[in-house]
């Protein structure tokens, strides 16, 4: 079956969408990503859409679903590389992708994920050092 590959780098999952996705393929990606987040306890997901020539309401909704499901599974999602023409069209279509964190490129997206993870670890540290009664 046709699938979009998911790469694992440390605690992050990386997806680069390089094909013109039909709806079923988008749904398969959503399932694959969600189960992989749980399986490897991923802390972050980066989805690179710089090769996508359009994002319609279905793909937009799939991206939003992935971000929500990841959040429930304690992972942060960042969508990177949206082309300006795609952004303009998406907003005119009526979708502003609320709840989706975006970055301009892979590098700043990775930085965002690292920072988010570092913040979370700091919080964990506080919990560890809290006075023991």
């Amino acid at each position: 079956m046709e699938r979009i590959p998911i790469l694992r780098i440390g605690t992050f999952l990386l997806v680069t969408i390089q094909v013109d996705m039909h709806d079923q393929l988008a749904l398969t990606l959503q399932e694959d990503l969600t189960s992989m987040i749980a399986r490897v306890s991923a802390g972050g997901v980066l989805i690179d859409i710089s090769s996508l020539e359009i994002v319609d309401s279905f793909i937009g909704r799939t991206l939003a679903n992935i971000a929500s499901m990841a959040r429930v599974l304690d992972a942060t999602t960042v969508v990177v590389g949206m082309q300006p023409a795609v952004a303009i069209t998406l907003v005119e279509l009526g979708m502003s992708l609320p709840g989706i964190r975006t970055a301009l490129n892979v590098e700043s997206g990775m930085q965002y994920l690292r920072d988010t993870l570092a913040d979370r670890e700091d919080e964990d540290d506080w919990r560890d050092y809290s006075p023991q009664g």
Partner: protein, 138 residues
């Protein structure tokens, strides 16, 4: 005064599965390039084609898309008709409302593609089918 609109190039693409919607998008892109649309306008036209093609598949249970380059003597554009023999739309005003959906979508297909195109026409008869025709001029 502009002359009558003539159709320069037309093709019909059947829509029976989700891969066909991808084919419609790709063919619309080819025609949009030929008309000379800017990248933003190409993206708008292709996105509208994707929304309407999906409607034909999901709500109309399949049908076909007719895409063509049009010319009114002054400017050129692209025209797309999506036809199905599905259940039809009982309340067109409701179907055109942002956010209203009868299926599992976002409810942006019709209202969104209307915003992305210059012309929009929807005819539907319950039990007979639906035709949506849109056009965008360069």
């Amino acid at each position: 005064m502009t002359g009558e609109t003539t159709v320069r190039k037309a093709e019909t693409i059947p829509i029976a599965e989700s891969n066909d919607v991808v084919r419609v998008r790709q063919q619309v892109r080819v025609l949009a390039l030929e008309v000379g649309f800017s990248l933003v306008d190409q993206t708008k036209v292709v996105t509208a084609a994707s929304e309407l093609g999906r409607n034909t598949l999901e709500h109309g249970h399949g049908g076909h898309a007719e895409i063509s380059i049009i010319d009114n003597g002054v400017k050129r554009g692209i025209k797309m008709s999506f036809r199905d023999n599905g259940p039809g739309i009982a309340d067109i005003a409701l179907a055109m409302t942002d956010g209203y959906t009868s299926g599992k979508g976002m409810g942006l297909g019709l209202s969104g593609s209307k915003r992305l195109m210059n012309e929009f026409e929807l005819t539907s008869e319950v039990g007979v089918g639906t035709t949506v025709t849109v056009a965008r001029w360069k």
